[in-house]
Symmetry: C2
Subunit: 472 residues, 2 copies
């Protein structure tokens, strides 16, 4: 019916086949992109493993009851909801349909949603499997998440998170090790970063001090702008969110905080001397900085303006910025004392970090930091000269593959030029030419596609040559 | 409101926190399961790479226009559909709501769906990116798919597919190499299998021969039951689907087909002598079997009853059965000549295979075939004796990690017994005890958790010992 309409309305358009495309905010990853992404995931995975984290995976779909209410009102709207199968409308009459707002109606039509992050599914996992888990439980998880955000440059509706968390341990040694992991990962990538650390308890102490616990976010947002807008504008903004002159005056030493971590800490300790929670926050930061000593290869900076969006953090919070690319936070994390409480398991403390794979990908691209081997695909291509030659090449290819050499036999006996173009386009470093004479002599003409050099070799020599050149 | 209802109706139940659980038909994968699944994926990936296949990934969500109508009417029902964000009901009035059937209404409320397999997204990918692709294009793809099937033992709503396809080449050498890949993968797993091969053209030839092209599926289904129900019952079933006596008589040599592949082929060639398409099918099978020769370590069997469900296959079709476990097909595939036609790119031939990771997982579990190293997680645990000892252990752990040893420092200074239990439960082979005296001497007491042996060593000796024992 709609096809009929289409044709009758568009006589001048040649009927075309179905248009191809993917939902906005999503991406296809081609072979080069995948090789690069795998390099990122493999690097992060290796370091996580080295620090004793084990992998888990959770389903893409969670019950909406698990997800709703965990990310604030805005987050609820950004959840992708999955229509119930079959007669989803059964329990909603036309009158109810008309009278019910979309959000409430969605809750009637949908029981499941796509995960929005890896933290809430992890909390659900820990509670559900608590009897099987050995505490402290150190897990990592590398999976896509989905958000119905407005797509824009660098913001996608499907993207990967790479999380590591420790639950069931209050020890600040976990924070120390997570900082070492961050340092190790970015050292391996060759990305220079600054690791920023703060503590929610310090922020709470500040708020307590000036009697404005409810304005803590506004305050940090305003202080964060110091570099850009100057002290007067910051104070104006503090006034505009409702702080009194006295309150603003008390904040001045904190706003002007500068110098080394130790210098900042000294000022802050002085300001927070009457706040128990504030002092505790200072202790925690100092413990982590002290234990790290000078072991990190990237700078770590105590940054009082670091607040992070999510309000489930209760202790240390961290964020990582690339020094050579303007792109915002590329890794973040912190300690949360009661994430599993909502699922019925209170009193379990956790701390974790999350690498932003997509932004790291952009940084690596921009700085061109991929190791040469990242895109290494096929090592050797046998040119196809015809039926009997290709049959012979198949058996040679069995031997090179047994030696660990990624090998292709061009499947069709098309023109030589086309086959060589294929090798070039795919960056295949070696091409084997086995025509009638080579077959009779039991030899192979091996062409090095980079140097252009061509040599007549035995199979064994070919294998040795490729293994030594490619360092497979 | 509903919370109020709950409490007023259930006075005797202590109010509990939110129930945890995951949607039916989905699974969490814990650390041991993940190690095993990674072993499966890594093995398949390695072999695909060795044969020159490169990885791609496509989004979990596709436009419903891409997915609908590709899997038959039943398949359309099994697609998970994603509710449009925001005011999804805007364009549907209450009257329309009332009058529209659920399936049609779903199409108004949802533009996107979760992918149902990897083949259709791949076809969409090839068409969308045709200008960037080098033909023949050999890609592999390992990603989850989702189906709203009724969950049951061994059937899930979220499961992984591991596909490899070659598009843009008609050559049967591709079929040959895919058989070699199957053989190599199952040899690496240690799973004994039978590879079954057939050809749609042979089936078409048979149907042509007896003048019953529309009954080809019924015929193969009936013939497939020969072993179980015997020749008389098979003939009864053929009659019941509407074949005449003459037609059934003509099928007898085919039903009774037995012996070696060569013997079966001889009979079939004789029967199909007047069918051009049938002879072509025989040629194709013979080419593949001939080129494979005796190179496979698993038997390959020409099986005329192999029809496979999907009707987009046009040439060779394959299926793999485990010999030592009753579980159905664990791998399948075939050639399709026009998969991209529906997206506007006709004339592109492809051939591919798909490993069923979940069933392979079940087979490996049942036969207990995982290599010992599969679950290897952490190599070394430092016991935590207190603040200064653990700080010292942190710096030792930096050294062992730098040597590639996966190391943990127990984060809390709890009782020794609890820490040793942790090491045991996690199968950590080595535990390092560094108390006050060891710290002063600059040495480490290393306990081998398998032999129970404990030795006093230098850091260098510890590293050598673990590297040589674990063969990291």
């Amino acid at each position: 019916m709609s096809a009929f309409l289409f044709f009758s309305l568009s006589k001048h358009i040649t009927p075309v086949a179905q248009k191809t495309g993917i939902p906005k905010g999503t991406r296809d990853f081609g072979t080069v992109e995948m090789a690069r992404r795998n390099y990122i995931f493999d690097t992060i995975r290796s370091v996580y493993r080295l620090y004793g984290f084990s992998q888990i995976e959770t389903p893409a779909m969670e019950n909406l009851s698990t997800l709703m209410g965990k990310y604030g009102e805005e987050g609820d709207k950004l959840l992708f909801k999955i229509l119930n199968s079959g007669d989803f409308k059964r329990s909603v009459s036309a009158v109810q349909y008309e009278e019910t707002a979309p959000a409430a109606l969605a809750a009637r039509f949908c029981e499941k949603g796509l995960r929005y992050d890896l933290t809430v599914p992890f909390a659900r996992y820990v509670v559900q499997h608590r009897d099987e888990l050995q505490m402290p439980f150190k897990r990592y998880q590398i999976q896509p998440v989905w958000r119905a955000d407005r797509p824009q440059k660098g913001r996608y509706r499907e993207f990967y998170q790479c999380d590591a968390d420790v639950v069931g341990s209050d020890s600040l040694l976990n924070e120390v090790e997570l900082m070492q992991i961050i340092d190790e990962v970015f050292t391996r990538f060759g990305i220079r970063v600054c690791i920023k650390i703060n503590n929610r308890k310090v922020l709470s102490g500040m708020a307590e001090l000036i009697g404005a616990a409810d304005k803590i976010v506004d305050i940090t947002v305003a202080i964060d702008k110091l570099d850009k807008i100057g002290i007067d504008k910051v104070n104006e903004e503090l006034a505009s969110v409702g702080l009194s002159e006295v309150q603003i005056r008390m904040l001045q030493p904190i706003i002007a905080l500068s110098g080394t971590n130790a210098e900042k800490m000294a000022v802050l300790r002085n300001v927070l001397t009457d706040s128990e929670v504030g002092r505790k926050g200072c202790d925690e930061i100092e413990f982590v900085l002290d234990k790290l000593g000078d072991t990190l290869r990237n700078p770590i900076e105590f940054d009082l303006t670091l607040a992070r969006g999510l309000n489930y953090y209760t202790g240390c919070i961290f964020e990582v910025k690339a020094l050579d690319v303007e792109i915002g936070s590329i890794t973040g994390g912190g300690r949360y004392d009661n994430l599993t409480g909502i699922f019925g398991l209170p009193g379990l403390s956790g701390v974790g970090i999350s690498f932003g794979a997509d932004r790291i990908y952009d940084v690596l691209n921009q700085l061109d930091l991929y190791p040469a081997a990242t895109c290494a695909g096929v090592d050797l291509l046998f040119i196809n000269f015809g039926v009997s030659e290709s049959a012979h090449c198949l058996s040679l290819a069995r031997e090179t593959r047994a030696a660990g050499i990624a090998t292709e036999v061009y499947p069709d006996a098309v023109k030589m030029k086309k086959q060589m173009n294929y090798a070039n386009a795919r960056n295949i470093p070696f091409v084997a030419l086995v025509g009638e004479s080579e077959m009779q002599e039991g030899r192979i003409s091996l062409k090095n596609m980079i140097t252009g050099e061509q040599r007549n070799l035995t199979l064994e020599e070919v294998i040795n040559c490729i293994i030594h050149t490619s360092a497979i």
